[in-house]
Amino acid sequence: MQRIGVFICHCGTNIAATVDVKAVAEALKHEPGVVFSTDYPYMCSEAGQNIVKDAIRDYHLSGVVICSCSPRMHEATFRKAAAVAGLNPYMVEIANIREQCSWIHKDIPQATEKAITLGKAAIAKVHLNAPLYAGESPVVKRALVIGGGIAGIQTALDIADAGFPVDIVETKPTIGGKMTQLDKTFPTLDCAACILTPKMVDCAQNENIKIYSYSEVTDVKGFVGNFTVTIKRKARYVDETKCTGCGICTEKCPMKKVPNEFNLGMNNRSAVYIPFAQAVPKVATIDPEHCNMLKKGKCGLCAKVCTAGAIDYKQKDEFIEEQYGAIVVATGYNPINLDKFDEFAYSQSKDVITSLEFERLTNAAGPTSGTLLRPSDGKHPHTIVFVQCVGSRDTSGCGKEYCSKICCMYTAKHAMLTREKYPDTDVYVFYIDVRTPGKSFDEFYRRAVEQYGVHYIKGMVGKIVPQADGTLAVQASDLLDNKQLHINADLVVLAAAIEPDKSARPLATMLTASMDTNDFFTEAHPKLRPVESPTAGVFLSGTCQGPKDIPETVSQAGAAASKVIGLLCKDKLTCNPCVAHSDEWMCNGCSACEKVCPYGAITYEDKEFRMPDRTTAIRRVAIVNEAVCQGCGACTVACPSGAMDLKGFSNSQIMAEVDAICK
């Protein structure tokens, strides 16, 4: 019989307001094995923890039940406290009477009764708890960053700076991500390339960083500290080690009519290309979809002009397998597709553009060399309408229900820059709300209005109709003036919502990391563990976790790096002791458990047994590798004889809980 102590937390009034904590303490006092039962306003406070520790010592407790908030919150806290007092931490069980009781019920007697039942279930479980001891597993001291945008770059640089090797996998031929396509950055208006490219170069030059550009992650196995990742290096038909990035091939390539994705298709590039001047690695890539040599076997011009002999038409996709201790996801975002928004005539008129396209139109390296010209006729636009929230905050199914966060600020930036460069331009910004919470953000927005005279109109554009004269008839409401406006615009810029990159979903499956309904990665805790995924060893950096601007992305990238460094600093990781265990006397050796184990943690051994009838028998039995087992329990149900059980969540423990609840 265990000697159990029961501790009921008031959590201020969070619990005590709906649960009669005294009554719970009193009721649980009479449960079998309970030798001590008390309540306290904040059990998780130091004083509260001391009550637990003292009781463990004074009453020689062998088990502890804390009735408090969710075990996801403070299980670790109380386990630590128990350990300090000399009790095995796995002799502590939490009854969740806050999230799953006091916060959802209003009726005090009902909530109290439920709290007592939950307490009894936890007591019933503790009766069957056994001390558990955590094993250890080694840590591979190498990190993987998936995505080479500013988030990935910053994370990689920070990890590398701490002295750990780190690999970046980027699907594009160059790292840099979306930020390379931006012109200026808010609220300081410094040029994106000027601050980004040095970091890209740093990456290339840092000995600890290895860049796998034009590559994808295709498989992830293993677990924290010991991931095995398969990386597909797509054939770029250019030997990266030989190419000097001189660019002669791109000049000579006869196939020059490939839409240039870097400029969002607003101009063309050649079939062999370097995305932009500061690309890292600065290596050419042949686009197999457009290269005549690869498609038809005719041409070969680039190979002829390449003095370095880097062109290799026979290159194949290459798969490499690498070991990592930690993985950082930095897969970034894309503007949403605007096909569902006919009213804005995006697909009908070249002069209706997205904000990212606008960035390219104002960027010196863009298709117009930085002069703002209408895509349709190359003329200077005199009236520009910016529409915010295109697809953001949209529950109709056409867009995204969340706020994309960055649009208010970049639209203000665009409006301001336009007015600064072209004071003869009329600029209208249609907004639903202007959201500028950030350092120097609101000041920035006010400058656009006050200093640059941008017309901010509270209201939404209802429709845009291209006119015969090349203008765009913009019909919108001005809610403050209660008027409908009709503006003949030369250019309309849509602030499209942003969404996670499409590669994130399959990656999340590979990583077993969870995602929310919008395909943003879920953090381990929304407030307290914002850069960790719930899957141990997987970290989140940048917009893959949620919309963010550059400063926020960079700070999160640094935070993710520091978490990775913290992990890689350890030589060994303590394993979860709640792992499967096979009773070899009952094991049939049938392999059912092995078949369902996602980690390959189960192997078989022919073992000699001295049978009860004094004969010797060789039997095939399952062996669980405790360092590899993650404790899901799939094997325990696959096992018909019940030989396989899960420590900490054993059959008898769960059934005891069931019994207590149904009593």
């Binding site: 050796g589 049938c590 059912a592 078949k595 078989y604 039997r619 095939r620 018909p640 004889s641 008898s652």
Partner: protein, 324 residues
């Protein structure tokens, strides 16, 4: 066939290929045949039997027998080879200690079925083509073989041997059987009717464990129902819950592994149609996850130990038509 089998067994004993033979041994009447291990030619001559009354599935004995010294010759009917193959898949039988000879089966006469036709006092029984001639204490009777066979043979799933070292007679084929008709009939009943049906059947259970102990899929070193630590150990079904519990869990534990050999129903002293539980799982698996025959091949993953991302949701059972 019996003569041939004995001769072949003697030859294999003589040349040392095997040191034992597992087969069927004659009893007091023609129908009370006992599985037995023969070690000499004399024993074979004296007792070895193979006819249309040899119903027992011998594969389960091979778990123990294959762990003994030397090789054992096993005569397996088509049905038995499925069980044998499934046991190999589960690493329960040491294949290299067994020499399998596949023997044909034309369907087995079931004495309980004969008795259920009102024939009592059966002292002797002989299959004469399609007729079964029965001598009883009260005179001679005859019955058509079709009427003397149990459901498992009337709805035989296969005459094919899936594993063997040697085959006697001609190889048969996998058959189209109507083995799921009764399951379907039950599915089409209302839940109340089904409940009444199964209560009527399962309430007769005496928890003798014959179904479990004869089942070639129930080979656990220690059954959960015998294991006090499992939390569901039962020695006797104390109430209706325990009757249900035993049969549900047993069917679940053999789901995806049961080859539908029908031994459970054959041995049940209370004539409970236990195979209808197993067949329900087989039918569901076939319908939801694609045709699967346990034991048919050594490689296909058992349906409960695999999955596809497109699998039906459990809610499918609320949606399936009629009273299903």
């Amino acid at each position: 066939m019996q003569r041939e089998m004995i001769e072949r067994a003697k030859a294999l004993l003589a040349d040392g290929t095997v040191n034992r033979v597992i087969g069927w041994k004659a009893g007091e009447f023609d129908y009370d045949i006992t599985p037995a291990v023969f070690t000499t030619a004399e024993e074979l001559d004296a007792g070895f039997l193979y006819n249309d009354l040899c119903a027992a599935n011998l594969s389960k004995y091979l778990i123990k027998e294959s762990r003994k010294e030397g090789k054992i010759l096993a005569f397996l009917k088509p049905c038995d080879t499925y069980s044998f193959s499934q046991l190999l898949k589960e690493h329960r039988i040491w294949r290299d200690h067994v020499y399998v000879i596949g023997v044909p089966c034309e369907g087995k006469v079931d004495v309980d079925t004969v008795k259920s036709k009102g024939i009592t006092g059966i002292c002797s029984m002989r299959c004469d083509g399609e007729t079964v001639r029965v001598e009883t204490l009260y005179g001679e009777e005859s019955i058509k073989k079709d009427e003397a066979m149990a459901d498992r043979c009337l709805n035989c799933k296969s005459k094919k041997h899936v594993v063997y070292d040697e085959l006697m007679g001609e190889e048969g084929d996998v058959l189209d059987s109507h083995r799921f008709d009764m399951v379907e009939k039950l599915e089409n009943m209302t839940p109340d009717e089904r409940f009444a049906f199964w209560r009527g059947e399962l309430s007769r259970c005496i928890r003798c464990n014959a179904c479990r102990n004869v089942c070639p899929a129930c080979t656990c070193e220690k059954c959960v129902f015998d294991n006090d630590a499992s939390g569901i150990a039962q020695k006797a079904a104390v109430d209706s819950f325990e009757e249900n519990m035993f049969h549900i869990i047993r069917a679940f534990h053999v789901a995806g592994r049961c080859t539908d050999c029908g031994e459970c129903s054959r041995v049940c002293p209370q004539n409970i149609p236990l195979h209808l539980l197993n067949r329900k799982f087989i039918k569901d698996i076939d319908e939801l996850y694609g045709e699967y025959q346990a034991g048919a091949d050594p490689d296909t993953k058992p349906p409960l130990n695999t999955f596809t991302q497109e699998d039906a949701e459990p809610s499918v059972i609320y949606e399936r038509g009629g009273n299903k």
